[in-house]
């Protein structure tokens, strides 16, 4: 860490990087605050801008977008009762009732402070823990890596809304898309149809932007955008909370932080789950659980600390194992690969300074976002009032141009429209995009390690006979069937109650 300090200080003190960090935070907060957009979408849209940057600058910019997006998600939840993203669903349950009671200033202040606490301290913990996880990761070989990636994908399927068939179908689609181009190890062309644009595989921007961003814009348009909201700004004055109020929430904050950090660390999980778990545990631990859902400040603290603590947690498996903790870290792994940085246990040997830069950037961004949100509290309602006819056309053009700059030809823009149509079809069928993203990003790692495993041992049984790999494989298989098991248990419970 110490030997990386000059590099970190040089990168973070560069005026160009400071401007990018500020811009990234602002854009991230706006994307996080507006329902339908998210920090993940901001990272996706602006990722191609980083292709001409050096690795350090790219990391600073992408992380600032992500941190801004995660921290801004509570704004929509508190002021509109509509979460800015899945990570702030639970924040609505008490944040919005607080606003209706004329306490929107207080709810916003709690959201800001909780976001800062979660992000800042998770970065510190992540920075310390990452080295130890990387040391353990050295003991893993191809079989264990395959199993770990397998678990990451299946965990997302296990928590995907709807049913396991839909989660699995989306993951299969991700695997199919990742198979296009030359296969790893054997270099056999697959699904290329003699088309030179497909030889190198499908670009991440084209697939994800088409399916995740452009199709979402189209479907939302078809379903009708919600009317521009009226927001109460009268109760926003001062900072809103006192140190005593923060102290009173000490236990809740620590518990939610640990939940967020732990869930963020699990491959495939992230802020979307941590905020729900933290909220329910805060409710269970409360002396007055009936007050939850009616404007209890503890119901804002818990999800906001947890979803932001998941950031540091998600960065640990991303850096130390090369396995994403959630959709955004999956994108970051892809972006860093373009800059020649391969995440995984060797990262500390090859580019440890970059890993430390990531954690320090997260901590600095947390401070910046807190300052911006404190001084810009009265501006939040205006962000939510941007009319869709001005916001979405600009996003459509940015999406298309992002796919153009990735490849330098309009053919890929056309392909992006194909993926947009696939995204609309997925929305129609209710297939979750999160499973697809993870399977698409992890697909090449999964296949490479699977084939290596076969090359070394010549049999599939090794995946089950090696202890760590075997346990992970069984866990993965359990995750696939867990929605069905849960459904059966619920049915049995319901029939017993009758």
């Amino acid at each position: 860490m110490i030997e990386s300090l000059p590099f970190i200080l040089e990168t973070l003190s560069s005026p160009y990087n400071i401007v990018l960090m500020l811009a990234g935070n602002v854009v991230g907060i706006i994307f996080g605050a507006i329902p339908g957009l998210s920090g993940t979408m901001a990272v996706m849209l602006f990722m191609p801008l980083t292709y001409t940057m050096d690795a350090g600058t790219a990391i600073v910019f992408l992380l600032s977008l992500w941190i801004g997006g995660c921290s801004g998600a509570f704004i929509g939840s508190v002021l509109l009762g509509i979460p800015g993203s899945a990570s702030a669903v639970a924040t609505c349950w008490d944040g919005y009732p607080m606003s209706l009671q004329g306490k929107s200033g207080k709810a916003l202040a709690i959201g800001m402070t909780a976001s800062f606490t979660g992000t800042f301290f998770s970065a510190i913990f992540g920075c310390i823990l990452c080295v130890y996880v990387a040391d353990i990761a050295f003991l893993l070989s191809a079989w264990e890596y395959f199993s770990l990636c397998f678990v990451a994908i299946t965990m997302v399927i296990a928590i995907s809304k709807g049913n396991m068939f839909k989660g699995l179908a989306a993951a299969s689609l991700g695997l199919l898309f990742s198979s296009v181009g030359y296969s790893p190890i054997d270099a056999e062309p697959r699904f290329v149809f003699d088309n030179m644009y497909l030889m190198g595989g499908l670009g991440m921007t084209i697939v994800l932007m088409g399916i995740f961003a452009l199709s979402r814009i189209l479907v939302d348009f078809g379903q009708g955008y919600p009317p521009t909201p009226e927001v109460d700004t009268k109760s926003i004055h001062g900072f809103g909370i006192t140190p005593t109020e923060v102290k009173e929430q000490g236990g809740n904050i620590v518990r939610s932080f640990l939940i967020g950090l732990g869930i963020g660390f699990l491959p495939g999980m992230g802020p979307g789950l941590s905020n729900l778990v933290a909220y329910s545990s805060a409710k269970n631990a409360s002396k007055d659980p009936d007050s939850f859902g009616k404007g209890n400040p503890a119901g804002v603290w818990a999800p906001e600390v947890a979803n932001n603590a998941a950031i540091g947690g998600a960065l640990i498996p991303m850096a130390a194992l090369g396995i994403p903790g959630d959709s955004t870290t999956a994108l970051l792994i892809g972006a860093l690969t373009i800059h020649g940085l391969e995440m995984g246990p060797m990262v500390f040997q090859n580019s440890g300074h970059v890993v430390y830069l990531m954690f320090v950037t997260v901590a600095v961004c947390a401070l910046m976002v807190l300052a911006m949100q404190t001084f810009g509290m009265r501006l939040f309602p205006h962000v939510l009032k941007i009319p869709p006819h001005y916001m979405y056309p600009a996003l459509i053009v940015i999406s298309l141009m992002s796919s153009y700059v990735e490849s330098g030809n309009l053919y890929k823009c056309g392909m992006m429209l194909v993926f947009c149509a696939i995204g609309v079809a997925m929305n129609y069928g209710g297939l979750p995009t999160s499973s697809l993203i993870l399977a698409f990003v992890l697909g090449p790692i999964l296949e490479k390690n699977m084939l290596r495993g076969f090359q070394y041992s010549g049999t599939w049984t090794t995946f089950f006979t090696r202890p760590v790999s075997g346990i992970l494989m069984l866990l993965g298989i359990f995750c696939i069937f867990s929605p069905a098991i849960r459904m059966l248990l619920d049915k049995r419970k319901a029939s017993k109650q009758q």
Binding site: S172, L176, F221, I396, M401, V405, F454
Partner: protein
């Protein structure tokens, strides 16, 4: 007659996709053996996933008694279709006219289409100013600030 549900359509589409993928995989040259599955196994897993999940989704659709919410109304599908058509035209326009000429028209079209269903309307002048300003802003951000290249158009190459 029982109404066709979204799950039926999704299930059938996935089964067909799975079969198509499996047929394509069989044409790969490298053989698949128990000792080394090669490049065929991974896409075959995907194909199997499509068929198995497609069947599961289809059967679930048959068994489900829940009332299904419509995904989009007829008017909604029309809106999505129009927007998609404009996107295709925009990409073609960019091919011939380049980014700088095609984008203001596309932005103007998108703004006009989206504002139709809204209470607050943007005036003609505001839409023109918006379209030109956003075009220039995106160009400055990508090309001037970050050194990227944008399509210049076949007619001007």
């Amino acid at each position: 007659m029982k109404k066709i549900r979204r799950d039926h359509v999704t299930g059938l589409a996935l089964i067909i996709l799975g079969v198509v993928v499996a047929v394509l995989v069989m044409q790969f040259k490298k053989p698949m053996t128990a000792a080394y599955p090669g490049p065929k196994l991974f896409p075959l897993i995907a194909a199997f996933g499509f068929v198995a999940c497609g069947l599961g989704i289809f059967i679930e659709g048959c068994l489900s008694k829940k009332e299904e919410k419509p995904f989009l109304s007829a008017a909604g599908w029309k809106k999505v279709g129009i927007m998609f058509a404009v996107l295709i035209v925009y990409v073609f326009l960019m091919k011939y006219l380049g980014y700088m000429l095609a984008t203001p028209f596309a932005l103007f079209a998108f703004t006009t289409i989206i504002e139709k269903g809204e209470k607050t309307k943007a005036g003609l002048v505001s839409k023109i100013i918006y379209s030109v300003a956003v075009t220039v802003f995106i160009y400055l951000m990508y090309v001037t600030a970050f050194g990227m290249t944008f399509p210049s158009g076949m007619l001007f190459d």
